[in-house]
């Protein structure tokens, strides 16, 4: 079962409310100062929104992927950085829920729910580029304890996380692709920041580089190989929730364009403003994006427990295509909205300002570069015969 919470729609409503009341007023400062959206996460913690995907028997609400995607989208309509942090956190939670089945990891899950811990991810590594399915660092196990060091070029909100999931080779003599996923809470971590995070967009994610040193109980190494965790959970949940961020961002742009066209129409009653046709086009593309995201959510829900299908190429190609399509459409949508709003959208001091949305949108194609994803699909399509 993909999971169902007791009150359908409740999570989305909370996200809408916190988005409008807290994330929206903070969004410009979060962006300008490239700072973590503390106030939004304090509010979400107070509403127990962080552990919401964890099953009720371990202290969460048992929310499903569709509900979480809707909440991510709702936040994305107000602050893309907040939405992306929430999405990345839920990706880690989903990995623990679906792949942390040992009694030890079940206790960890209960702690994550109880303390409303914020989880981050350290998958990229210096020297391997974006090839996150290989690691250079390795887990060293000795007498039930482990040690691990990783040079991570990016750990989003690493300095603000209560725990990090880290990929590494299974052992010092393991092949680069023989990876495991390791849960490391804050008290088992030493993070030394390297570099800065001064970027065009998603500035509030504070995605600095870090030298990461971790040690702890060897049972923090998730029992399943990362290959299975990646294809069954990390990859689909990432693409679905990232796309939900972009859908939220696109929705915000459409909303501004719509408000602009309405204001124009009110100035000259009885005439259709020239930009109204552009808005009609824009709404068309937005609808396609929404359909693409929702279709992927339904497909993942359908195959949720079908490990054969989740591991197979057609599903991976499909989820990759979601990311490719959504990351391009969001840029098109914001750009179209800019043409509709004209100088009002271009200005940084107008209610129709689209600058931040445009800067955030352009990051979509780069987080796991689309060229790399096309390369992966191209390779799979050499042998996959699924239509």
């Amino acid at each position: 079962m993909p999971g169902t919470s007791t009150a359908p729609g409740a999570l989305r409503k909370l996200a809408e409310q916190i988005g409008a009341d807290i994330a929206a007023p903070a969004a410009d400062a979060v962006d300008r100062e490239a700072r973590f959206p503390h106030e939004v996460f304090a509010a979400m913690r107070a509403e127990r929104m962080l552990g919401v995907m964890i099953p009720p028997e371990h202290g969460g609400a048992g929310a499903g992927i569709a509900e979480v995607a809707a909440a991510v989208q709702a936040l994305g309509e107000h602050c893309a950085s907040t939405s992306m942090i929430y999405a990345m956190h839920q990706i880690q939670v989903a990995c623990l829920v679906r792949h942390g089945e040992s009694p030890f990891m079940r206790e960890v899950l209960a702690r994550v729910a109880q303390e409303e811990m914020l989880l981050a991810s350290a998958t990229t590594e210096a020297g391997i580029g974006g090839a996150i399915r290989t690691s250079s660092c390795a887990v060293e196990e000795k007498q039930g304890r482990f040690r691990l060091e990783k040079q991570a070029p990016v750990i989003s909100y690493g300095a603000h996380a209560d725990g990090i999931l880290v990929t590494a080779r299974r052992a010092p003599d393991a092949a680069p692709n023989d990876q495991v996923l390791v849960y490391v809470p804050r008290d088992g971590l030493t993070l030394t920041p390297s570099g800065t995070w001064d970027t065009l967009g998603f500035r509030g994610t504070c995605s600095l580089g870090f030298h990461l040193a971790a040690e702890g109980d060897a049972r923090q190494v998730l029992p399943e190989p990362y290959a299975a965790i990646s294809s069954r959970t990390m990859l689909p949940v990432s693409h679905i929730l990232w796309s939900s961020v972009w859908l939220g961002l696109a929705t915000a742009a459409v909303r501004k364009a719509r408000a602009f066209v309405r204001a124009e129409a009110r100035k000259k009653p009885g005439t259709t403003p020239p930009a109204a046709v552009r808005l009609a086009e824009l709404v068309n593309v937005h609808q396609q994006l929404r359909a693409t995201v929702h279709d992927a959510v339904r497909e993942y829900e359908r195959l949720w427990d079908d490990t054969e299908a989740l591991d197979a190429m057609p599903f991976a190609i499909r989820m990759n295509n979601l990311k490719l399509a959504a990351s391009c459409q969001v840029v098109d949508i914001v750009h179209q909205a800019m043409l509709i709003c004209g100088m009002s959208g271009y200005r940084e001091d107008s209610p129709f300002s689209l600058g931040r949305l445009l800067r955030d949108a352009t990051g979509a194609a780069l987080m796991i570069n689309n060229d790399r994803i096309y390369g992966g699909n191209a390779a799979m399509l050499l042998v996959s015969k699924d239509d």
Partner: protein
């Protein structure tokens, strides 16, 4: 050359393994030996070419290529029913 030997030769040429394909056990895990998903696609194409077969979608699973023995079984299945070998 036996089927296993041919498979090992193809693994040596296309598998980009960390270990020598000749020293692996029949049931050794090829993914643990360093077979990446990208190299596995090259391996599939090389196997299709060498044995004049075509892997149907249902066989394009991690498990099908996880060991020399698993590949041998898959090849045997596809070469024993010549009328079906190109059907996907």
């Amino acid at each position: 050359m036996t089927t296993s030997e041919r498979i090992r030769q193809i693994l040596r040429d296309h598998g980009r393994l960390a270990a020598d394909a000749g020293t692996l056990g029949e049931d050794s895990d090829l993914y643990q030996a360093g077979l990446t998903s990208h190299a596995s696609v090259t391996l599939m194409l090389a196997l299709e070419d060498a044995f004049e077969i075509e892997f149907p979608e249902r066989m394009l699973r991690r498990r099908t290529f996880e060991s020399v023995a698993a590949i041998r079984d898959a090849v045997a299945e596809l070469t024993s029913s010549p009328g079906l070998k190109a059907v996907s």
